[in-house]
Point group: C2
Chain length 446, copies 2
């Protein structure tokens, strides 16, 4: 069996490692465009926050280890340019310009996603950077190493933008965040989003939502952003307006694409060609609440899908039920988390949704150190099902959201979830867990 993997990040290397471990007779060949494999991409903002940490700390396993210890033919600096599904062959080009090709019995597309660069004059100027690959992280860190960067403009206000904002502020750099949309975190309940906005403002972050950048220019030592609301100066610009799936290879090979142009896969991670799998940020998934295809590129799914592909390649038939869209991020001292559907997503999916937003405390009555926890919960009036939850607070949010995530996987009703026997001790929460308070309130909306 010849198993070929395109892409050497989370999904690709998870699949390659597990396949080699599980069915050692398989020849496992990986083609990776860059020189970096198997690193903690999500850790980059935190690494960038600390000038004394080496970006290579984020490498989980070196290319050499994969080659020598695991007998994986790992080819870095190899860009695959075409997949011939009929001939079961991939074709590509090396860094030196020479061509290569490789036959496969089973193929995994783990090509990831790429940061979107808006089509603006000046978007390719030096000093306008993105954050996706380890090379991107190194470039940002190198740019910050000099003393010249005192003010950074971040295009975008998503979670990577927020994490970069905190990282830069930690280094004493002033940050402005800009985006054309008028609403901060539009998927979030307003009470919760307001708490995030207050946290950003309390740390001196300039927030310019509803502001469209029209061009970037050099301006003496620095950069100037022309916007529809005036000019904005920055020593560095970070573009964090989102990512798009790298699905050109799949599209050119005639494979079906799903939402956002991601590669469409079944529960077994197979594409429309049964010998070709896709996993990680390039592939879609089924949403466990709606049953519909979604594209929510996150790290756990990438790792899990990589493993499942390896299992299927090795003959253990594994199916992944899907994703709940569970995510958490940190904004200075706030923990922000979500799982499942927003009110709007629920309505769009054909539910008859109701929602509540409650504020309670992070510790028991009279326990010192308690802070607010805001919870937003969405349920379906027709079936009584819990559909989604969002939480914001200074403590007790990041792991609490998982209880709601499991409830979504289990398709629990709000009533069933409200009956959950959750943990209580005064240092860790009120008797009625914040999620239960929200669920109890939501029951009244049925």
């Amino acid at each position: 069996m010849r198993f070929v993997v395109i892409g050497g990040d989370a999904a690709g290397m998870s699949a390659a490692s597990r396949a080699k471990r599980k069915c050692p007779d398989t020849t496992v060949t990986v083609f990776e465009r860059s020189e970096d494999v198997s690193y903690s991409a999500c850790g980059m903002p935190y690494n960038i926050a600390d000038p004394h940490r080496d970006m290579n700390d984020l490498v989980v396993r070196s290319a050499e280890a994969f080659r020598k210890k695991q007998d994986i033919a790992l080819n870095t600096g190899h860009t695959v340019t075409r997949v011939d599904t009929g001939a079961h062959t991939v074709h590509g080009i090396r860094e030196d310009g020479s061509a290569f090709s490789c036959d496969y019995d089973r193929l995994l597309l783990a090509t990831g996603a790429s940061p979107v660069r808006p089509a603006l004059p000046g978007i390719d100027l030096p000093g306008v950077l993105v954050l996706k690959s380890l090379a991107d992280g190194r470039a940002i860190k190198a740019a910050l190493a000099g003393a010249g960067v005192r003010r950074v403009a971040i295009l975008g206000m998503g979670y990577i933008a927020m994490e970069m904002c905190e990282a830069l502020a930690t280094r004493g750099i002033a940050v402005d965040m800009v985006k054309p949309g008028p609403v901060l975190l539009p998927w979030m309940d307003r009470t919760l989003a307001d708490a995030v906005q207050q946290e950003l403002e309390a740390h001196g972050v300039g927030l310019y939502h509803g502001t469209a950048v029209t061009a970037v220019d050099t301006d003496g030592d620095g950069l100037n952003l022309a916007t529809d609301r005036g000019d904005m100066a920055a020593d560095l610009v970070i573009v964090a307006v989102g990512v798009a799936p790298n699905s050109t290879l799949a599209k050119d090979a005639g494979l079906n694409l799903g939402p956002a142009g991601a590669v469409a896969v079944g529960e077994d991670l197979a594409t429309s060609d049964p010998d070709v799998y896709a996993a990680g940020d390039c592939a879609d998934a089924f949403h466990v609440v709606t049953g519909r295809r979604v594209w929510i590129p996150l790290a756990l799914r990438a790792n899990r899908a990589g493993w499942a592909v390896a299992d299927n390649v090795c003959g253990d038939l594994v199916r992944l039920t899907g994703v709940a869209g569970t995510a958490v991020f940190k904004v200075f001292d706030l923990e922000v988390a979500r799982t499942g559907l927003t009110l709007q997503e629920a309505a769009d999916a054909g539910f008859d949704p109701a929602s509540v937003t409650i504020t309670t405390r992070s510790r028991a009555h009279a326990h010192p150190g308690a802070v607010d926890i805001h919870v937003h919960a969405v349920g379906d009036r027709n079936t009584g099902r819990l559909l989604g939850a969002q939480m914001v607070g200074r403590e007790g949010v990041a792991h609490r959201i998982n209880a709601a995530a499991v409830a979504l996987h289990a398709k629990l009703t709000v009533d069933e979830f409200a009956q959950s026997d959750l943990a209580y001790a005064p240092p860790f929460g009120p008797v009625w867990d914040p999620l239960l308070v929200a669920a109890n309130q939501l029951l009244k909306k049925r």
Copy 2:
């Protein structure tokens, strides 16, 4: 409708308040033995830890507020001595020795539990105290207020003993813990229990498990504990060897009793007499994993059961599916949590259990500040169901356990739970949440 409640703590006052709110025409009468109602009993160790905090801080709502603002006939200092289910009447005695009686249409027994005092010579000496009621807490705090208490012996090593241990150590008091059983936290996996033991020892706590106290004596200024392994000196002794349900009224009234002598109730909280309910620490519950009756007296269940009784009294038929035995407690800097069955409990309940114990980290690869998290998980080989989980760590345990608790309520298999889309960000955990790492390992044991 005349609704009478015996006991004015969590279950009793939850029921009384909700009944009055939900069906205001109901006459709600509460008889409470002590003068304290509606306080955070679980908060007492943390209050005791701080000499500057008033014990009354723990009162959530005063007796006056219940009387004046909620129109509840709350009679403190009233001890009910007999329930006549035939005549629908309760009889009792006031603090001044006078008798009272009261007719009911529906009755709630919310009589709580009492601390067990082992039958030892000297167990009733001054300076040998228990912790259950607010009066108990005040007595301990008063005893500690003098400068004379430098060393305390705690009988018992359960979670209240652990919390008192931390409280006393916080006040600079040396603590010895003693119990006859040879094993610390016998319900806990050994790897996890060892971590707790190390935490206690690191804080200088003397641990004497396998040591039976045979008598307590006064000895000059202090107390002396005679044990089968020699004498032990203490300025104060705290007895925390467990609690027993206050079910004498129920037993004398001919109601059915369940495990540990707790009042047996159905999912609707009714006892074997349909006009008499029981809720809180005096009542049993169904375990959501085994379906069997259990007695696990914890605060959330008490509050939830109180509400459910009120709903049923008011004609909204509510059924509680049961408890998972989810609990968390803090031992100095450790968070210790469990839900569901232990390996032994699973075997006793007729499952064919397998278990794993894993150690992973509380934050992502290369993220600063990560510490160990130990997870023990139990599953059933026959059905594949998840049966229980335990966790110990310095962060990220208290709320994580809830994900497993919800999985138990939903009767998920280990495989289904392992597919849960849990939250990931580097400051809050590894890509594979510790619970998922355990579940993935447990899958291999099927």
